[in-house]
Symmetry: C2
Subunit: 154 residues, 2 copies
């Protein structure tokens, strides 16, 4: 009887672990780039600014869903970013329960500064991948996400 561990080669790590590791390094890298510019922003706040800059004003719930952040946590992040003058809560024109979250001029300016960090990290991360491979990676991840969402909502 084999009493030793059932060893699997290191290269054969499961998808879940691998994705987690990539995510950790990605966040680490982004926060390092941001700190190197003398700015004080968490990764989640960076992502929020990016979403707002790319997609324009949206509801707090829409923003929360798009980054899979809890609604309560979103309220607090909005407090912080609004307190620092990077965004604004405006009333929603059609729905008085909701907010219209929009970047201020300062928020847009900050995002302009951050684009280079974003680009540098993504370029470094995919450095060894060809254009075709980058597209494939994106495609595969999108399909995995879709499959998991189908599974989880049923």
């Amino acid at each position: 009887m084999n009493t030793g561990p059932l060893v699997t080669p290191t290269s054969q790590e499961s998808l879940g672990l691998l994705i987690n590791l990539v995510r950790v390094e990605l966040v680490r890298s982004m926060e390092a780039e941001i700190a190197a510019k003398g700015m004080d922003l968490r990764y989640i706040q960076f992502v929020m600014l990016k979403r707002l800059a790319m997609l324009g004003p949206m509801t707090a719930t829409e923003l929360a869903r798009s980054v899979e952040l809890d609604g309560g946590a979103m309220t607090r992040q909005l407090d912080q970013l609004e307190g620092r003058g990077y965004l604004r809560r405006r009333p929603h024109a059609q729905d008085r329960r909701a907010l219209r979250i929009e970047l201020t001029e300062a928020g847009n300016a900050l995002w302009q500064q951050l684009t280079s960090c974003n680009d540098r990290v993504l370029e470094a991360a995919q450095h060894s991948l060809s254009d075709v491979e980058r597209e494939r990676l994106h495609d595969y991840l999108g399909r995995v996400l879709h499959a998991l969402r189908d599974k989880n909502r049923s």
Copy 2:
């Protein structure tokens, strides 16, 4: 002057966001499968058991590094899993600072029960990917991880 948002198509989401979304759904799916079996385990605890089952006994620091968990957090997770009888802290034979973390019989038995959850989730996640595509996804993620680690340690 264009005062509207600089819109990028939704399909063009950045790698960082995409990876985060996949990770969230993966964790959600795994925890749902575990809960469906009536077990009470967090994703991180599941991963710890898996590492120990696959690779055999190791140091607390080795375990922590392999899943990118903080050392302090590892101590507390070990407390929990040891308290529930799934693993054991033994003295390390060569290094009296270190511990040898090993699964108990109960821990091995638990992992046997969990393998099916693990397999189901990974299969569902990669359902739409061919074998070649699964290998490529794994390869690309490994290369991205390597590139980021190179970048972050320099």
